[in-house]
């Protein structure tokens, strides 16, 4: 007899990587999730038409992974360390929550801030903010709690596209930078592995772009997935992209005609005409202190915003009277002073950086550099326009994208500056076809980057820099990574601390540097979807750092290398078992810029396994048991759960004293969201969303671009000259030196108005020497790359991901150039040991012609020793070999994933 089955299909989302959310449906048969599939209801709305990537297909195995932690657990072995068995024993939810909340209440009684001025509670979340889309109303609990230290990093920020985050947002509200792929025609990609990590929207758009003939040149040391799918691959030496880009700029400025540039854009939308004096500062009007420009109509210097003025873009002039404003209000007055425009300085600055100069550094032929410069200019379409939503905008279909390792660590400032300036030169910044930003995280509101633009000083956007003046500089850090103290540009938003130099929190807590207040350990540390013992630098040391934490509450999926040091494990209901409503669409990370915006529901397709509970339930219980229910509910009402529950015309607020069920909270969120987006015309609750999955309204395509906002507010991009950052750097230096701090002096050198080319490879050599080693002993460069299957760590224990990844060259291996390998007597799959100045890792080689002879590549972040399934893969790890070092940290606090290594064949030895 044929068995009848109960089958249902449930809409949901995946947000396991920063390119989400992607939409999906879950097929459930007799209460068991058995299949993931696209949500085609989103055809024509979601740029990838409702599809999700390979990662999402792992969600079923993720749910039924026999290695899951399915009950709260407590540690019975008080000793912590890699070689200590935690002795986890199952406990009830009551015991777990009461243990945590007793401790939280005791902390509240002592005071939320300790004697060192640091929060007693800390929290770490991984993968670029994605845990927020799985932690339900936990942000409301954190808001109700008070100060929390987010300094202890696991790689997000610091190892991410860090310099791009901070400078991109500073220059054009581009926390993330993207090509305007649907409109562009020519893309220079410096290792931006968008096919692996850009998500479904990027993959769809770039496939369409390829078919319509877009040329993408991929410049990186190995042939990544993206390089494979590009028109041209240029195998550049690792970390020399700054030389290539400076040479591109040199070529465009010194070997091409000016009318190949967008002179109108330079004159009206940038700082190019501003006059610079002898101290490298703007010359300013003596009365108003506005920066001066040379008015060609009157042959005199006038404030930049003088109506009817025609500023000279280039030239050297003599100015009758002016002042400049240096660090700490150090004002200098001038009479008959020589000045040059920013443009003139900029052109001179690039003078030495010829293609011939660059070739010796980056190993790319000068002729190639010249050709790329020429192609870029030829594709720029200066003067052309396009109509979008009834508005006429400049059309400049050339874009420059950067990948990790190019936009973090030393040399990143050079690169992010150079790429933004490349866009600036042809007016391709924030216009259709060009280089655009997709989100803000340091400026408010985060949900609308255009609205975050307000007029600031000197004709530029208002900035959000942490103060560096004597009165307001945060001399005593309020967080363990001292982001407000050390990194002015990271600002002071809810994200800023996690974007500070998060490795310093670990380093300084163990080993404070000179003249620095010794940070204390937090009394309690929450960790969720984060595994610093695997994903950060120097993972052996990192695991030891984690082991120093006095009391760790880990929301645990499986045992892993970081929750190995936990005191309490809490099993949160995972992707297919829990509920949350989040925003989607508009413009957001990577290539998520849509013609719609709205909200999408994640709902339980199945009951949670074991004792796993919905995160919103956990958050409500934590709030209730620690006496914070009122503050928690008020935070939810204000929008800490994603949507504010009260608006002008609607009120779905929670009563502060009541502990609500999970479904009730999200039902109100659904109603508030739809009321907001539809202006009250189309309000829907949870039941509607459980059926329909998402709700959207149109989003104007013209709002993808910042240019119209800049024009409307008559603002200029603060480019190419960094006069403010130069001054801020000097002030920061003054503050640090007043405290006797000189260990940040190398970083201070990065605060240059025009970047000085950083010899990154030499910096590495000197760092190796400082570690007591000889660089010649480590002749090869090891870098990493991502794969779509693992571009966020939570798939390492999923068998399906490992199985399908076997089809991808280099998965779990060390990619090595075939000739290099052969010269060492190595064959495919032979075992080798890679050794850096601090550690070694072992693995099998994968021979490839698509790798530079001097470079090795280890995909992903493996090297597990505790995570079930992953620990038996025995895959090599770059993170184990990479030092956590101040010498390898740039001014924004980031470091790159690259290491000097030696290779030793192991033969039959394991």
């Amino acid at each position: 007899m044929k068995q009848s089955h109960h089958v249902k299909t449930v809409p949901s989302y995946c947000y396991n990587c920063v390119a989400g959310p992607c939409l999906m449906k879950v097929k459930v048969k007799d209460g068991v999730a058995c299949e993931i599939m696209p949500n085609f209801d989103a055809e024509g709305i979601h740029p990838a038409n409702g599809r999700c990537c390979v990662k999402a297909y792992g969600a079923v195995q993720k749910t039924y992974n026999p290695n899951r932690v399915l009950t709260p657990m407590k540690r019975t072995n008080p000793k912590k360390g890699r070689n200590e068995d935690p002795g986890f024993v199952p406990i009830s939810w009551d015991e777990a929550l009461d243990t945590i909340c007793d401790r939280l209440r005791a902390i509240r009684e002592k005071g939320l801030i300790d004697e060192a001025g640091l929060p007693r509670v800390a929290a770490t979340f991984g993968m670029g903010g994605t845990p927020v889309s799985y932690m339900g109303t936990f942000p409301a609990f954190m808001a109700a709690w008070g100060p929390i230290d987010f300094s202890f990093g696991s790689g997000q920020g610091v190892k991410c596209v860090h310099a791009e985050h901070l400078y991109g947002e500073y220059w054009h509200r581009a926390f993330i930078v993207s090509a305007d792929t649907p409109h562009t025609r020519y893309i220079l990609s410096f290792g931006a592995n968008v096919e692996a990590t850009g998500g479904t929207c990027a993959v769809t758009r770039h496939a369409d772009a390829r078919v319509r003939g877009v040329k993408r040149v991929n410049i990186e040391p190995h042939m990544s997935i993206t390089a494979a799918a590009s028109s041209e691959w240029i195998p550049i030496k690792p970390k020399t992209d700054n030389a290539f880009m400076f040479a591109l700029l040199h070529t465009m400025l010194h070997e091409h005609k000016r009318d190949e540039l967008d002179l109108a854009f330079l004159r009206d939308r940038t700082a190019c005409p501003y006059l610079v004096g002898p101290r490298g500062l703007y010359l300013r009007d003596t009365e108003t202190r506005k920066p001066l420009v040379w008015n060609l109509k009157t042959d005199s210097a006038v404030p930049f915003d003088t109506p009817g003025a025609e500023p000279a873009i280039e030239g050297r002039f003599r100015i009758e009277h002016a002042v400049d404003v240096g660090a700490d209000d150090d004002v200098a007055s001038y009479a008959d002073v020589d000045a040059e425009t920013v443009m003139t300085k900029f052109v001179d600055h690039l003078g030495p950086h010829t293609p011939e100069w660059a070739t010796a550094i980056c190993d790319v032929p000068a002729e190639t550099i010249r050709r790329i410069a020429r192609e870029y200019l030829e594709h720029a379409c200066i003067g052309e326009t396009i109509e979008i939503d009834g508005k006429t905008l400049p059309f400049r279909p050339v874009a420059v994208t950067l990948g990790k390792n190019v936009n973090n660590g030393w040399g990143a400032y050079d690169c992010v500056w150079a790429r933004t300036v490349l866009a600036m030169l042809v007016g391709a910044l924030e216009v259709p076809g060009g280089t655009i930003g997709t989100s803000t995280r340091l400026n408010r509101p985060q949900s609308n980057r255009l609205k975050s633009v307000t007029p600031g000083d000197d004709g530029f956007m208002a900035t959000n820099l942490n103060p560096t003046d004597k009165k307001n500089w945060e001399a005593t850090p309020s967080g363990r990574n001292a982001h407000k103290t050390l990194v002015p540009i990271v600002g002071n938003s809810g994200w800023s601390q996690a974007l500070g130099p998060t490795h310093l929190a670990w380093m300084f807590t163990r080993n404070p540097p000179d003249n620095w207040p010794a940070p204390t350990y937090p009394d309690l540390w929450f960790i969720y979807r984060s595994n610093p013992s695997i994903s950060f630098f120097d993972t052996e040391e990192m695991a030891d750092c984690v082991a120093q934490m006095p009391f760790v509450v880990a929301f645990a999926y499986t045992p892993d290398e970081s929750n190995h040091m936990a005191d309490i494990l809490l099993p949160d209901a995972t992707d297919l078992e829990s509920m949350q409503l989040i925003r989607m669409g508009g413009t957001k990370f990577v290539e998520q810029f849509w013609k719609h915006q709205g909200v999408v529901l994640r709902q339980p397709a199945v009951e949670p396994c074991g004792e796993a509970r919905d995160f919103t339930w956990i958050a409500t219980e934590l709030a209730r048991r620690s006496g914070l229910l009122e503050g928690y509910n008020k935070a939810i009402n204000r929008g800490a759960g994603g949507m504010a529950l009260k608006g002008n015309d609607y009120d779905f607020s929670l009563q502060p004293e009541t502990a609500y069920e999970v479904k009730e909270i999200w039902d109100r969120s659904c109603k508030a969201a739809t009321a907001k987006y539809s202006h009250g015309d189309d309000v829907h609750g949870l039941e509607w969303f459980e059926e329909n999955g998402f709700f959207v309204v149109p989003f104007k395509q013209v709002d993808w671009y910042l240019y119209p906002t800049m024009v409307e507010q008559d603002l200029r991009f603060e480019l190419p000259y960094q006069e403010r950052l130069f001054r801020v750097g000097q002030e920061l230096g003054n503050r640090l030196h007043e405290q006797g701090i000189h260990w940040w002096d190398e970083q201070l050198k990065e605060y240059a108005a025009l970047p000085h080319w950083c010899d990154v490879l030499d910096t590495w050599d000197r760092a190796v020497e400082k570690m007591g080693s000889d660089p010649k002993q480590f002749p090869l460069w090891l870098i990493s790359t991502k794969s779509m299957q693992y571009a966020s760590g939570n798939n390492v224990s999923i068998q399906l991901m490992n199985e399908v990844s076997q089809n991808v060259r280099g998965h779990g291996r060390i990619l090595i150039n075939t000739a290099t390998a052969t010269a060492m007597g190595l064959k495919q799959d032979d075992r080798v040991e890679l050794r850096s100045p601090i550690a070694y890792t072992r693995g099998q080689v994968a021979l490839s012609e698509g790798v530079r002879p001097d470079t090795l590549v280890v995909p992903g972040q493996f090297g597990h020793w505790a995570t079930p399934y992953a620990k038996d893969l025995n895959f090599p790890s770059l993170n184990k070999l990479a030092p956590m070092s101040l010498d390898l940290t740039d001014a924004t606090g980031s470091g790159a994933d690259m290491v000097r290594v030696s290779v030793t064949p192991l033969g039959d030895a394991t």
Binding site: F40, A196, V203, A227
Partner: protein
């Protein structure tokens, strides 16, 4: 007449293996069995290298070598071109696996699970032990196509009547349809692009086309 074919646009494919995973999930194939997978190929010598991603699987040939060698008649060819296996008849001799020039067929004799020797909950529900001991391969999701057609849907156009790999493809590389219909999606696509097929010289007349600018 109807002949269903698959078209893989190699300009679009990025080897993400989403189709590999989607197929496994939908069909409940055991670990190691990949009816659809994407090969990652490298051609040339540094620095003149090409890396190409190529979805492969059963080519649903109109002249299939597997059909000729099958001693039991389990391998069958439908009127719409789909080459199918009747698992109830197959004796697991593997002659078809040897005969197939595309390596498209699998044969698994022992139960294997994703995590050790016991099935997970989804494997208990999804796992299809009808594949044990018999040849198995891509069948263009024949059951799904048939159900869709019975409901008046068009394979390759309506997701409910289209193979899972095609539905899942995030770059739009995979297209499925009836090549005998001159106005179908596949016919239009092939008419407007350069394409080739694998091992045509073997005389198999495969029903799997690859779009490639240098074809």
């Amino acid at each position: 007449m109807t002949r269903y074919v698959m078209v893989a646009d190699l300009r679009r494919c990025i080897g993400c293996q989403t189709c590999t995973a989607a197929c496994k999930m939908a069909n409940g194939t055991p670990p190691g069995v990949q009816w659809r997978r994407v090969v990652d190929m490298e051609i040339g010598t540094y620095p003149d290298v090409k890396r190409v991603f190529m979805p492969v699987g059963c080519q649903h040939c109109s002249n299939p070598p597997c059909l000729d060698v099958c001693p039991s008649g389990a391998t069958q060819q439908r009127d719409d071109g789909i080459v199918n296996i009747d698992y109830d008849i197959c004796i697991g001799c593997a002659s078809c696996a040897v005969a197939c020039p595309y390596g498209a067929r699998y044969l698994v004799h022992e139960e294997q699970y994703a995590y050790g020797d016991r099935p997970t909950e989804d494997e208990k529900t999804n796992y299809n032990n009808k594949y044990l001991g018999v040849a198995n391969k891509c069948n263009f999701c024949a059951e799904k196509i048939d159900a869709g057609v019975a409901n008046g849907l068009t394979p390759g156009k309506d997701p409910e009547a289209t193979p899972h790999c095609v539905n899942s493809c995030i770059s739009g590389a995979m297209t499925f349809g009836d090549i005998d219909d001159q106005e179908s999606n596949v016919s239009t696509l092939l008419r407007n692009s350069k394409h080739y097929r694998l091992k045509e010289e073997e005389g198999t007349n495969p029903g799997f086309y690859y779009i490639w600018d240098e074809a």
